[in-house]
Symmetry: C2
Subunit: 322 residues, 2 copies
């Protein structure tokens, strides 16, 4: 009987996407104090990467309506984080077809960012490939985040992985946008992604959502099967059911470079008050959309309404509209 | 690539322990309407077993302080459920050293109960073996629930399993009382339990707690590795972090005999109001005791206090007292 979880894999790196994914709840309106507190917590906790927001279009997402972390302008980032600490790589996400990446993403030597994460749906692979090349040519580390993989057909996925494996992206991330996948499916996907990148030096990542209370479990599952990049958020903060909670992930990892106390400090000081104004977590309507392998938008809308605690009504509606 | 989760295993049976485990929050004071609603939901959902409470001692747990489901007297059960439906087997749990089982557990032909679940710690195996024999001789189906297995040493566990395998218990349950186990550990335990009962015709069960948001994931893991008896509760209701949520478990199982809608109806009508007066779920203090492989009692006490949202204070205290 072996107990591999008692030791650790030094090459495993953790990314915090609290501001980027949590910002989907509040139109990326987090104030500078909150963002700086996330940054401090990442530094103190030994977290490898912090994703601070999107690099998305100001035409599609106006500055009037959306907060700074939808666009992650250089000045806004510098103002929020103060002096940069080289121990945490700063990332921003750019959505295929929603980003003016040629203009808005500066050459890396003019930017405080280290990593561009390119997010795409499977029908946007050619745009994403161009974005990956653009960011890489500008000097960034790049990741490819193929979203909503639970609704991608296998031949399409194989084709997409072949295209992404040929790009200079350093990491390809298994993204369970709908929180629909069970452990056995995670295993199959991680194995497939690893096979697709064999010999390229790339890594496989995992980004799980908590619709079925499986975000942490599926992150562990992906790690067991060789994913070396794991996404998590403080308190699981994130759109809808939220993400893999950082406090659980770091509690599982055994690398002594990680420290839990700064995460709990952040939870006590910053996340506990948020529960009064923001809602996230594996509520029953998210369980239902997760089980149905659907985008959580219907559940988000339902929970915001007056009858948000009537999960049977929501279930019946989902079945009628299936 | 195979997708075994698309089909189902007919021999897999589900047990609802909402009243028994949820009752640990409110000293088993659920009223008859609630218990009857659980019973109706179990019947309508196709659930195989319902555990209605404990058969524990009235000397240790006085009727003044504790509700009916601490003792599960025949009259109280009959009054609550009304006419018995043979499709759901009724269970009660008896704790080793806390039950006057010789007197309080009637012969089955005088009882509305079908199953006695004997719960024990590893130092109570001889008492438990006598209880199992007593219940079996009285005509019941019997299960052996060895609690807190995450703190049992392997030689003790081997000895305990050998003793339990020799009893007439029909099922031996892997019980993760502290919600401390990860999937790999569940796999190892289920394999070990299966090996211990090989050739006896017994089944292995799983009873998971949600301290680390892993109750559902670990229940799936146990099922994948051959557990054919799975415990869950409506809405995950249960002491501390609660249990594997029935709505998630039935959503995962594909046996058409199971129906989700009655569960969601129960959640909407009975569980949603409870959130106003009872607290359970994978709150951060439970994450911490789960990670530390400790009984959740310290977290329960902390959360009931004024500073219950100060998870850093709780973390620091746990480390000081470790």
């Amino acid at each position: 009987m072996r107990a591999p979880w008692v030791t650790y894999r030094p090459e495993l790196k953790v990314l915090d996407c609290t501001v980027r994914d949590g910002g989907l709840i509040n139109d990326h309106q987090f104030d500078n104090a909150f963002v700086r507190a996330v940054y401090r917590a990442c530094i103190d906790a030994g977290i490898d990467y912090m994703e601070i927001g999107y690099k998305n279009s100001k035409k599609i997402f106006s500055r009037d309506r959306f907060g700074a972390w939808k666009h992650s302008d250089e000045d806004d980032i510098r103002r929020a984080i103060g002096e940069k600490d080289p121990s945490v790589k700063l990332c921003a996400m750019a959505d295929a077809t929603k980003s003016d990446y040629h203009e808005d993403i500066l050459p890396r030597d003019q930017s405080v960012l280290d990593v561009i994460r390119v997010a795409m749906y499977v029908n946007q692979i050619p745009t994403a490939v161009d974005m990956i090349k653009d960011a890489h040519d500008k000097g960034y580390e790049v990741t490819a985040n193929l979203m909503a993989v639970s609704v991608v057909q296998e031949p399409e996925l194989d084709e997409a992985l072949e295209a992404l494996a040929a790009t200079p992206a350093a990491t390809i991330v298994v993204v369970d946008s709908f929180g629909a996948l069970y452990a056995e499916q995670i295993e199959i996907l991680v194995r497939k992604y690893r096979k697709a990148i064999e010999g390229t030096g790339k890594e496989v990542g995992i980004h799980a959502h908590n619709n079925q209370q499986l975000a942490f479990a599926n992150t562990i599952e992906a790690i067991i099967h060789g994913a070396n990049r794991a996404d998590a958020t403080m308190g699981g903060l994130g759109r809808g059911a939220g993400n893999c909670p950082m406090e659980l992930l770091l509690g599982f990892l055994r690398n002594p470079k990680f420290h839990l106390r700064p995460v709990y400090q952040f939870l006590q000081e910053q996340v506990a008050p948020l529960h009064k104004t923001m809602q996230w977590g594996a509520l029953v309507p998210y369980n239902i959309t997760g089980q149905l392998n659907q985008h959580p938008r219907a559940a988000i809308g339902f929970l915001a309404g007056e009858d948000g605690d009537k999960c049977l009504d929501f279930y019946d509606r989902c079945l009628r509209e299936e």
